[in-house]
Each structure stands twice: as structure tokens, then as C-alpha cells.
Symmetry: C2
Subunit: 146 residues, 2 copies
DNA sequence: GTAACTGCAAAATATTTGCATCCTT
DNA sequence: AAGGATGCAAATATTTTGCAGTTAC
């Protein structure tokens, strides 16, 4: 069965929070669920919208920051000054991201996806530069819109 | 001689503005000069700071937007929610950017550079996705800080 | 019970808009 | 002279901070 039950998702988010030594609270569970329920990345505004009027705006800010700090989600830079957040894979941990996948922003539906299977070639930098992290963002039309 | 005189720079920015059918005004000249005077990219705040108290904050917003529209500068996405702007090369024109170079953000001095000579390998996207634009941002330590 | 989390209020910051004035062409 | 650009004021929007009350463990 591919469809998860509400209980299963609820357990999943609970585990994720406990694993990161965070209290399991309503807002954290709800926000994590939003990430799990859909494939793409979410901006702060998306979360407020999808969560309805359920949480204070401040709680969303703080929750997202906490998740980033713990390595539960990572940020995706975009050109329109709206940071998007996406779930990290298991290898991520506090202060240490391994998101070596690329990010894809659909110019039609405006969703952002992490494409985990796309590998990027090594980049040769000029003499004197050393790389710590490479971020690749591809803009185009996604599978659903094509 | 590698050092340009003030007059030469003044001419250069004037030409650039005229070429894009923009009035040659004090603020536009000054802001373009800031870009020419240094190798990296500038965020809105950098410009306000470097320009001193010379211009209204609103003028900076409008000027940068105008430059982006005309293809004089392009934006560089960063993860910290501060859009940076960098001069476009000659091939850029209104509504049509050709910035196929990568961007490098130094984690030490926090400067952003366009590395024009670094070419990125073609990226193979999954079936169904089509790419319009690829943005590569490398974070690391730059030549001056290494 | 205690530490952590949330919500509210408010401050600080950032961005946009309207309009009167000034400047470039 | 005419259209465009600027500066100011003010409206919006965004993000941060402090604190008191509540909740998870």
C-alpha cells in the first residue's frame, strides 16, 4: 500500500522529532506533516497558508528555524527573495548537511523539488578557491506541467 | 595602464546607461560605479552603505529594479534571504540573461564573485523535466582569503 | 516540577506606493 | 516642454524580541 494512514504519518513525525530531541508539539507535528504530504519545498508563506489560521506567525518562524538548526529541513535559495525549506534526507544531522542533490523550480506551477537522483559533475574552480558546498538550482518545467 | 581614471569610468557608466535608453542621472551613475569599482556582487544593503547617505533608500530599490529589467545587472540567489546583484556581461540584454557562469560566495569575507571561466557540465534531468536556466552557487573560501 | 514551547504585543526592519518636485533629454 | 527620475511621507509586509501563560516530559 502506498497511501499512508494518518496514524502512520503521525508516528513518523513523532519519531523524527524525538530523534532530534525536540518536544513533540502540535505545531511541530503539523508543520512536519505539511512537508511529508507533498513532494516539494515550502516557503514560510506556503506554510502559513496551508496550515490555515492554526498557528501564530511567530511560531512558524521559530519552528522552521529550529528544524533548520536540527538538520530536519534545509533551505533552498531562490532568486525571488523567498527562502524555501525542504525536508532533509537521513544523512543530514545537526550542523552538517549533505544535500548533494539539485533543486528544481518549476516556472509554471512554481513548486520546488529536490531531485535526489541527479548528480552534478565536479566543478573545477580557479586556482586559490576552495569549495565547501555547491548549490545547484535548475529552473524549468516539471514533470507534472510538461 | 590598468587603473582607470575617474573620467573613464564616468564615460563607461554613461555609455552603459545610454545603451539601455535610460536617463543618465546621478544615482544611476553612482550605483553603476559601485559595481564597477569592485569585483563582487552587491546586496541592497551594501549599496546603501557604500553610497553613504547619498540617496534615498527608495531610489536604490527602484534603480536596482530598473537595472535588472534592462539586463544591466542580474540577481544571485543566496540562502540568507538577501538578494545580491552583479553586473551582467555584454551578452545580456533586456529580458534575456545569459549568465552561464557560476557564482562563488566566500564564507570568510562574505563577498560574492561571478566566476566567468568556470563551465558547468550539462545536467541530466529525470524524464519529464525540462531546464530553462541553471544556477550554480558555490560556497567556500576565495582566492584572497585562502 | 521544570524546562521547553507557544501566543500575544510590540519593536525593528524591509519593501512598496502615491505624489509633488526636479532633472534629463 | 514633456517624460522620466527622485525624494519624501506613508502604507504594507516581513522578521525579531520579550514576556507571561501553557504544555511536554
Amino acid at each position: 500500500m502506498s497511501e499512508k494512514t494518518a496514524i502512520q504519518i503521525d508516528n513518523q513525525v513523532g519519531e523524527l522529532l524525538k530523534k532530534n530531541s525536540l518536544s513533540v508539539t502540535g505545531s511541530r507535528k503539523k508543520i512536519l506533516q505539511l512537508f511529508l504530504e507533498q513532494p516539494g519545498a515550502l516557503a514560510h508563506g506556503d506554510i502559513e497558508r496551508k496550515a490555515g489560521e492554526k498557528f501564530d506567525r511567530v511560531t512558524v518562524y521559530r519552528t522552521l528555524q529550529t528544524f533548520v538548526d536540527k538538520g530536519i529541513v534545509h533551505t533552498i535559495p531562490t532568486a525571488d527573495n523567498s527562502i524555501r525549506y525542504a525536508l532533509c534526507k537521513d544523512e543530514c544531522s545537526e550542523g552538517h548537511h549533505h544535500d548533494h542533490h539539485i533543486h528544481f523550480v518549476c516556472s509554471n506551477c512554481n513548486n520546488t523539488y529536490c531531485l535526489d537522483d541527479v548528480v552534478t559533475a565536479e566543478i573545477k574552480l580557479p586556482k586559490g578557491y576552495s569549495a565547501e558546498h555547491v548549490e545547484v538550482v535548475v529552473e524549468g518545467v516539471c514533470k507534472n506541467c510538461n
